[in-house]
């Protein structure tokens, strides 16, 4: 391996770890604030470090410290297999984390004539890896449910297992029709296929080419992540908390964080397979590279506008009620964050200006890669928000409704979709 290859691998691996792990506190915060928004209240917004609240994200870090310092408690009736109780949440967490590691964050970057993948694990069988590793997660739930020696835990684990078996089939079959369409099992090739256009004006996103399979994929991924409306495995109103009833402190936190990592992974797979991945619609990587000056000038105009809007929004909202006299350091926080944002914008503008005035192929390809990573992160956040909105607006399905939906509707529909896709593909190729 050459030096640039090693650097790209290390950077993309670090990026994958950061995107998966650092996203957890942000997502927990987003979920609680989103729930607050929907239920007409505020959510956590007061915890701060020296006046810095960051809108309340600090609360998640405080929660983590609390959970780490909490006593490791094992119920008395669990005589054997405490090590398995310790290990069960880790299995769920690690499998969700590993499944995230095959998502491409940007198109292949060409350095010194060598095409390098910007993908934490540079493999060319991404979707198979996701299906294989993603199916391990439920094993942790099984172990956790069984080792608790508790009726509710056992019920929760068996519900999770049978739901997983029921939804793995529609998931696999809808993925199969996408594999037929894209003619590849590599995530990056899928995204490249999606960056072309249909009939000259529609972006060829998976959701537009295969609406039925796309819908089935999204529904099955919701079920795979065990989130509402498919959260029958932990249905609080029926079986206390399902498989993690007996889990406390960090053992519980691992299950909890595993759910958010799984949600993040599911959003990443949805945008990679259905919504064009790291690409903007109508813009391919080649277009960006050949028209680099136009792209850079557009970015240099758009970026200050976005930053100005964010700063104005922050100045309007980051303040106390007029009746409260003490400001709690909020004006100072707004000031520091504004200065930081303006400085970063100026640095980016300077780099872009330098690249337009003194063109270099390496610099422009790195800039395009960074832009694609930014697009990916924005899309990822949008779909995580979608997951959160669905959770707080839809009621939980009853258990028999979940099974009915999986076996009677999604499975036949996905089989039908494969036949139609195969007929169309053969018809086109004739």
């Amino acid at each position: 391996m050459s030096t640039p290859a090693i650097i790209v691998v290390i950077i993309s691996f670090a990026l994958g770890a950061i995107l998966a792990l650092l996203m957890i506190p942000v997502l927990v915060w987003l979920e609680r604030r989103g729930a607050g928004l929907i239920q007409d209240r505020l959510g956590p917004n007061r915890t701060n470090v020296g006046g810095f609240r960051l809108g309340g994200v600090v609360q998640s870090f405080a929660d983590v410290i609390k959970l780490v310092l909490k006593e490791e408690y094992y119920p008395k009736h669990i005589s054997k297999g405490r090590w398995l109780m310790m290990l069960a949440p880790v299995i769920t967490f690690v499998s969700a984390l590993l499944a995230f590691m095959v998502i491409p964050f940007a198109d292949n970057i060409t350095i010194a004539g060598e095409s390098l993948r910007v993908q934490p694990l540079p493999v060319d069988y991404g979707i198979l890896w996701f299906l294989a590793i993603g199916s391990i997660g439920v094993i942790g739930i099984f172990f956790g449910g069984w080792i608790s020696h508790n009726k509710y835990s056992l019920l929760g684990a068996s519900r999770a297992g049978s739901m997983m078996i029921g939804y793995e089939l529609p998931l696999g079959l809808s993925v199969l029709s996408f594999v037929l369409t894209y003619n590849s099992i590599d995530f990056n090739t899928m995204v490249q296929w999606q960056s072309q256009t249909l009939f000259g004006f529609l972006p060829a996103w998976g959701m537009i080419v295969q609406p039925l399979a796309g819908t089935i994929l999204i529904i099955s991924l919701f079920a795979e992540t065990n989130r509402a409306p498919f959260s029958v495995a932990e249905g609080e109103s029926e079986i206390v908390a399902g498989f993690f009833t007996e889990f406390t402190a960090m053992k519980f936190a691992m299950f909890f964080m595993g759910e958010y990592v799984a949600m993040n992974t599911a959003s990443a797979v949805i945008i990679t397979m259905l919504f064009g991945g790291y690409q903007l619609p109508w813009v391919t990587t080649d277009t960006l590279l050949t028209n680099f000056n136009t792209f850079a000038w557009t970015l240099m105009v758009v970026l200050p506008i976005i930053v100005t809007l964010i700063i104005r929004w922050m100045r309007k909202n980051n303040r106390v009620r007029p009746t409260v006299t003490s400001d709690g350091g909020r004006a100072f926080e707004t000031k520091v964050l504004s200065i930081a944002m303006i400085t970063m914008t100026l640095i980016v503008e300077g780099i872009l200006l330098y690249l337009t005035l003194i063109p270099s192929p390496l610099g422009s390809s790195i800039a395009v890669t960074l832009f694609q990573i930014a697009t990916f992160v924005v899309k990822l956040m949008i779909f995580n928000l979608f997951f959160i909105l669905v959770r707080w607006t839809l009621p939980r399905f009853r258990y028999d409704q979940v099974q009915h939906l999986g076996w009677y509707y999604l499975l036949p529909l996905s089989l039908f979709n494969i036949f139609v896709t195969a007929i169309v593909i053969v018809g086109v190729s004739l």
Partner: protein, 183 residues
């Protein structure tokens, strides 16, 4: 050197997992050992750069066999008092190991001399694409025969599991009429 040490670690896990599978008393710990053994086997396939076998191993053995096995364990609710008492288990394991040793030696010798009878692996060995191409060109008849066999097994399982009244015609109508009467 690195390959050898990875191989040693994975084989250690495979052996420990297989031993635990037969020696644990609780079924759930046996299932855990089985999981360890299957993952170690997948790792060995990955060490051979055979991505197809690696993924198929994880998907089938871990994603399907272990999950369904755990499903059965949970459904049966194997609590401690229901597990049979086996005081002489380790003697039996020891004696059967002694009995199987000559056979194991034979298999070991056969495996050791196996590589001399095959040619070197070709370019693209073990990749999904070449695997699929060969499966659907040279081996298409056995492949399809196996799929028909699996289909017939599946139909058989469904027929056994289904209640009789749905495929015995006269009974079906009897039940149907009764239901009508009840209404």
């Amino acid at each position: 050197m690195l390959e050898n040490s990875i191989f040693a670690i994975l084989s250690l896990f495979l052996v420990i997992g297989s031993l635990g599978m037969i020696s644990f008393k609780h079924t759930i710990f046996s299932a855990f050992s089985f999981l360890i053994a299957m993952l170690a086997l997948a790792g060995l396939f990955a060490l051979l750069e055979n991505s197809f076998l690696f993924l198929a191993q994880i998907m089938v053995s871990v994603g399907a066999v272990v999950v369904l096995g755990l499903m059965v364990i949970i459904s049966l609710g194997s609590i401690e008092k229901n597990i049979p008492h086996e005081p002489y288990k380790f003697y039996w394991i020891f004696i059967s190991t002694l009995l199987v040793t000559p056979l194991a030696l034979l298999i070991y010798k056969a495996l050791i001399s196996l590589h001399a009878h095959f040619e070197e692996t070709r370019e693209g060995y073990g990749e999904l694409k070449s695997m699929g191409e060969r499966l659907f060109s040279e081996w298409v008849l056995p492949f399809e025969a196996v799929s028909v066999l699996l289909l017939s097994a599946m139909v058989g399982a469904i027929v056994i599991a289904r209640k009789e009244k749905y495929f015995k015609k006269e009974n079906y109508f009897d039940n149907h009429n009764q239901q009508e009467d009840n209404k």
